[in-house]
Symmetry: C2
Subunit: 559 residues, 2 copies
């Protein structure tokens, strides 16, 4: 029996561990054992443990191996941190010695779950659904809007590859090529180290179908997740509920609603918009609110204030809070504007308030912004409830949701930009507004949301070269010559097609109950994009740069 020396009591009783578990070994002669976490082999006989020594808490607690023969295969000179108790090692230490950290129960569980989940995904797609697993290039060309793409210098002076953010264009080209159903577990790249939960390389489950519909794609994803879902987790509700982008914003103030709990946003414009606290001088104000049941009992007033300030800082909106008192009257800065109990009663009715509830109320001329602010209050309150050990939702539950009917474009500093990407087809009935009122055009886009995280997005694509050209040139003002290959392909017999991509790291983190995707990636980069174990990125010599005809700029004071 070979494995890692997990525990040593007086060179007599040891436990030996591998990924399958641990086993007690009794050493019946004098040996000097190596340090904990060394790799050893023991040869001996399996015995039933004496009655008093059995350990029902241990899977192998009924037996032990009796040996006089211990061979040291590799001594552990460097014991980096205890593996049983996680909280003891800080994340940067775990990252620095990741090879050691991977021995822990959690990492073994997560990496093995990832492997078996992906296997089931492939079996469902390729064996049951006729998908073809095609590997697409990662040495690609810079494309419009590719500001976040890493570049790769080549020996061909002044010419660079770029590492793509997704196989989007290649999978569309495969559709033109008659690969009717394509899938890939694809490595993708994004040079963006500002967001702590983003990895410079990440993995996407990518698929695309010809002659398809939104409904078919959604159904395939639902059935795929059901077929691959780990047995030890609660089942997914089928089919997944669907919600329009507008309703998601109205009810949850978010395009990725966490539907594990209620506390949805309610409109109280009728009740409250006349209050003098709201400035009606420019445009009519809408007033929205949410009610957190029992919120003023569970959340400290300090925490409520912290949430209020945090959301105000992001949205520049004023948020009012209300504590519903024992007699259903309010403790709130709003009280003085309410002019009596009638109005309080009306609002209490709207929310079906009970004593101890907490309300967040916000009025603004832009309903979407007001909803966003309240949606944020809603999520932060739920976090507070969880931290207090009183989660607003049943723990371990998985609530998937399709969000659909997104706008195709949005405004960014006065210019139209794609809400998702420039290849999304408009909803058929909105097609004519592409010219007249592009901001009103809905896209045939859908996001998959799980427990309030976006885990995927897809769309029916534009398959007409004319429409694609119009979107790129006339609406987005992009240089379409960089997309010549795709535009030519759309003129070469391109079937209607659509697809989706799921962010596997995020999905697996949710499945594993991890707060960070780093816990489901074998060798992740740190939050600032570095490999702490190998010390990458690192310097390279001038000679090495010479091959690529590049040099490091001398004066970078402007950066």
């Amino acid at each position: 029996m070979s494995g890692w020396l997990e525990y040593n009591r007086g060179n007599k009783f040891i436990t030996l561990r591998d990924f399958t578990g641990s086993c007690q070994v009794f050493i019946n002669n004098e040996v000097n054992l190596p340090k904990i976490e060394s790799v050893i082999t023991v040869k001996g006989t399996v015995h039933k443990r004496p009655d008093g020594n059995k350990n029902p808490a241990m899977e192998t607690g009924e037996i032990e191996v009796v040996t006089s023969n211990v061979e040291v295969l590799n001594e552990c000179e460097r014991y980096h941190f205890p593996l049983n108790d996680y909280s003891k090692a800080k994340e940067d230490v775990r990252m620095r010695y990741r090879y050691f950290d991977i021995r822990s129960k959690m990492m073994q569980h997560n990496l093995r779950l990832r492997s078996s989940f992906l296997m089931k995904v492939r079996r469902f797609l390729c064996e049951e659904q006729g998908f073809v697993d095609v590997e697409t290039p990662t040495l690609f060309r810079r494309t419009p809007g590719g500001a976040k793409e890493f570049i790769v210098p080549t020996a061909n002076k002044g010419k660079f590859f770029s590492l793509p953010q997704s196989p989007q264009q290649f999978k569309q080209l495969l559709m033109v090529g008659g690969i009717d159903r394509y899938m890939q577990i694809a490595r993708c790249y994004r040079d963006e180290n500002t967001k702590p939960e983003r990895q410079p390389e990440f993995t996407q489950l990518d698929l695309e179908l010809s002659f398809t519909t939104q409904g078919e794609i959604k159904q395939i994803i639902e059935r795929m997740l059901k077929a691959s879902w780990p047995k030890h987790l609660p089942d997914l509700m089928m089919p997944f509920p669907r919600m329009s982008y507008t309703n998601a914003m109205l009810l949850y103030g978010s395009d990725k609603p966490d539907t594990r709990f209620d506390c949805t946003i309610k409109d109280i414009t009728e009740e409250l918009s006349h209050l003098s606290v709201f400035d009606q001088t420019t445009s009519p104000v809408v007033v929205k609110g949410i009610c957190i049941p029992n919120g003023s009992n569970v959340m400290s007033s300090k925490n409520v204030k912290r949430i209020q300030r945090a959301v105000e800082a992001i949205t520049q909106l004023n948020i009012a809070t209300v504590t519903v008192k024992e007699d259903c009257s309010w403790k709130s800065p709003l009280t003085k504007y309410m002019g009596g109990n009638d109005l309080v009663y009306k609002v209490n009715c709207a929310f079906q308030c009970k004593p101890g509830d907490l309300l967040f109320i916000c009025g603004h001329i832009d309903w979407e912004l007001a909803c966003k602010a309240l949606g944020r209050c809603r999520i932060l309150s739920a976090k507070d409830f969880s931290a207090a050990g009183k989660p607003l939702y049943q723990p371990g539950v998985f609530n998937p949701l399709w969000v659909e009917e997104f706008p195709l474009f949005e405004l960014d500093e006065g210019s139209l930009v794609s809400a998702h990407h420039p290849f999304t087809a408009p909803v058929d009935e909105d097609f004519d507004m592409l010219q007249s009122d592009p901001l009103k055009v809905r896209g045939q886009h859908y996001d998959l949301v799980l427990n309030g995280s976006e885990i995927g997005g897809g769309s029916i694509r534009i398959h007409s070269a004319d429409t694609q050209k119009y979107v790129l040139e006339s609406i987005l003002k992009e240089d379409s010559s960089k997309m010549k290959h795709l535009l030519e392909a759309l003129e070469s017999g391109c079937p209607p097609h659509g697809g989706i991509a799921l962010g596997l790291d995020r999905l697996l983190a949710i499945m594993c109950g991890s707060d960070t995707i780093r816990d489901v990636i074998a060798f992740p980069k740190s939050s600032d994009g570095a490999d702490l174990m190998c010390e990458a990125p690192c310097h390279v010599t001038d000679d090495e740069l010479d091959r690529y005809h590049i040099s490091i700029t001398k004066d970078s004071s402007s950066h």
Copy 2:
């Protein structure tokens, strides 16, 4: 029924194609059909064809669809080349319009075979053999000997990632981490555009096991290939034969012998080394030869001379040819040195020559070089036989072979370098020679060869930090500080381990009977490393370079 308009006879009879095949459609009204390769949908009824119109050569030749309803989904404005007849389109045109080329029968077959082969490989490894599919990073650090690694600049001034040539180090770190059986279909990178059959990115089936042996690894690979081998191909002989590196060189003059045919190298030193044509002044000469049965009948003397010159140009050796005449005497420049028929008879006996055979003979003080030259003659002759339609081996046959017992190091311009890579463990019994005579040390390395192509290589690795340090520092004179992460890991409880990597592109090309790996890759780069379809690599703007604090060097006259 939707698909591509494959053929149109007078707007009446058309065939519609998708990847499953073609079907005839009869259009019973007046329509104007779009161009060939447009995407259309027809709605109609399936009819038995009239008796005279049946086409037994077509899978759907018994039926046709009768319709009056043709919908054009996408008109093909650009018909790039005929898809039925391959020889008509040159490779650069096929690459330029790859999305079109993929519609061809061959590319559909190759890409779909690739997908299903990989699926079976995964099922065998992960479901039957307990391997864990782990994704390892491709943004890595430059390592010793990494001259062929692409670099990736980062926003962190002067610091670069590199794209690894294989997951070698990560898979060893996974062994330290207790992932006892690891597998990955891994994207690998090599900046090397001098070899036409090398792609800058390629795919490797990578695996590694703890507590293993060479025998176990070989058996897993053999069983994996058997389990995944396409049904329509002849079976693989099990177990695969094994041959030492020395014997491979002695018999085939190559470390990747093509064992589909015989014509092995024979030693005729005893018979011929005394001939005055061989210069014995410095060291004793060994004389080697091969016999190509019927060679002087099948191969033109012009071709024989071409082979002779080509091999002489590479090896700087003189090669003599012999035509065995009807009476078994020789037509050869050697005749005049032979001093009569006795010696001719002796050599004829050694090769069991028959009239019409062709001999290549080569004498040199370095047996290995002489064998290499003859091995080359052997392969080139076999190619000539195939071109003449008389292949030396049964077509369609697959001959796998393990080559083993390679030297661990070799000399490169007077310095010791790793024959494979610096992590290979020496053969146990040669361990002591690491210090005394490293060139004599054999490595625990093994190559997998198929039909004369190397399709994989692996080894048992060094798992002792001391040995690894000694090899890196004292033998290879490398800066081991760049490998600190690995050396520290070997001191942290590292199990003995070994593994292998197979080059999937090459293996699939052989399985598909393709001459080039480009035929089994969806979007390959051209032989000089460019994507002709997307026009990559390409220029990027100075602004984009600024982000990475690099600039293109002004004067590159020295490069």
